[in-house]
């Protein structure tokens, strides 16, 4: 675990909303290729933690480093950073005014990474990967939740990010659609993508995660490999939490 392996690092990260301290002095790092799952009770600050990583939320205190760059510096172009950090949301957030293909090609084209032609070819490739080629010209409203989320993942991948952030990607899905989304994520993981995943899917965390972080009250209360964390939880609150979700 050498220093230059680290892709993302947060140092003394705190975030408050008004007087509500949501993240309390978190320091943590994620290595290139590592898959980190973040678990914890509702309202503990998991989403906020994830959203601080790509600066959708500005930390109140502390710094975030990505790929060697201190991205919390005000002189840093956040857009350039975000191009390299895909994000997948609980509620998909596909653009309903665009077709599936346009959803995928919009960002690569508008940020100048690809011509429309290149982006279209890329979209075809990605859609084929998630078995949704025939949906390319459809609008998101005609898709099922599982299909929407697979498109959302693919939309983020089209930017060729160095890392992907997932915020409860399966929580809004009907149970029978969870599997198809997790499968896409597993495939992504096996290809070596660096991933930070907030999830309630303990099975997924066990299978895919290199490391699991248990967040509670704005702190990382415990962390370790899935075996350590699920097998031998030390923290009382983690034990409570696990007894409720497992």
């Amino acid at each position: 675990m050498t220093e230059d392996n680290v892709l993302l690092r947060v140092e003394h990260l705190s975030k408050s909303f008004g007087s509500n301290l949501v993240l309390d002095d978190i320091s943590e790092q994620i290595r290139t290729g590592e898959k980190v799952c973040i678990i914890g009770p509702s309202g503990s600050g998991k989403s906020t933690f994830l959203r601080c990583m790509n600066l959708l939320e500005r930390p109140t205190k502390g710094d975030v480093f990505f790929d060697g760059q201190k991205i919390t510096d005000l002189s840093v172009d956040v857009n350039k950073v975000r191009e390299q950090m895909g994000m997948v949301f609980q509620h998909f957030n596909l653009f309903p005014n665009k077709t599936v293909r346009q959803n995928i090609t919009l960002a690569p084209v508008r940020t100048g990474h690809m011509t429309q032609q290149e982006a279209d070819a890329e979209a075809d490739k990605l859609l084929a990967r998630v078995n949704l080629s025939e949906k390319a010209e459809d609008y998101p409203s005609s898709l099922s939740g599982g299909q929407k989320q697979r498109i959302a993942i693919v939309r983020a991948m089209a930017m060729h990010p160095k890392m992907m952030l997932f915020d409860e990607p399966t929580s809004a899905l009907d149970p029978e659609m969870v599997g198809e989304v997790l499968n896409v994520m597993k495939e992504l993981a096996s290809e070596g993508m660096t991933m930070a995943v907030v999830t309630h899917e303990m099975g997924f965390a066990r299978e895919v995660a290199d490391r699991v972080l248990f967040v509670d009250e704005g702190k990382i209360m415990e962390q370790g490999t899935p075996d350590e964390l699920f097998g031998h939880p030390k923290n009382r609150r983690l034990q409570d939490f696990l007894s409720k979700v497992l």
């Binding site: 790509n54 600066l55 959708l56 939320e57 500005r58 005000l74 956040v78 857009n79 350039k80 950073v81 975000r82 191009e83 390299q84 950090m85 895909g86 994000m87 949301f89 509620h91 957030n93 596909l94 653009f95 309903p96 005014n97 665009k98 919009l106 960002a107 508008r110 940020t111 609008y139 998101p140 409203s141 959302a152 939309r155 983020a156 930017m159």
Partner: protein, 228 residues
Amino acid sequence: MSFVVNDRWKLYLKGLGKSLLLTVGALALGIVIGVVISIVRTAHDQKRSGEDKISAGLSVGNAICQLYTTIIRGTPMMVQLMIMGFVVFASSRNMQGVAILALGINSGAYVSEIIRSGIMSIDPGQMEAGRSLGMGYGTVMKEVILPQAIKNILPALGNELITLFKDTSLVSVIGMTELTKVARDIQARTYLPMMPYLGIALMYLVVVIIMTWLLGKLERRMRRSDRR
């Protein structure tokens, strides 16, 4: 009868034409003002602390815009017209210009709120998704937010058009000749109030009905093209 004598119908028609001209001019001005104000105000509301470097200027702009909408929406149109016509532009002879300006400035305050609430009605997740992909605020606004917001904005703008058309009757107080002034002038000459006033009421009504019908058509067409 009373509409045919001395070709009075021509006067009415000319008055109606002026009313429509005022409406279109004022709405155009109102939209320009409204767009600018809503851009400043939503950019201010949606900015993330520290992210943009022009935030001080934005705060000042936002305060000015807020002051403007508060004043305009908090005072009667009639009073605004009289201030513009008799105080600010007392010496101007271009009453038509003054009327369009006064109506447009008034309308701008309402249009800005229409656009703003149209934008605010879009799920914040849309902006976040766009930004998370590395696109700038303006790009996401233009490509994602506005095309969705326009579906809420256009119908409300249609209502604003109708309100504005009816409000043009007020500009007769500053001496501009539009439909209401024509009726008043004729009534002053003939001492017969009934036909002129009932007549213009009917004319306003017919125009409003036509506008409503056209807007309804537009809305239906928009909904049909909206394949989501």
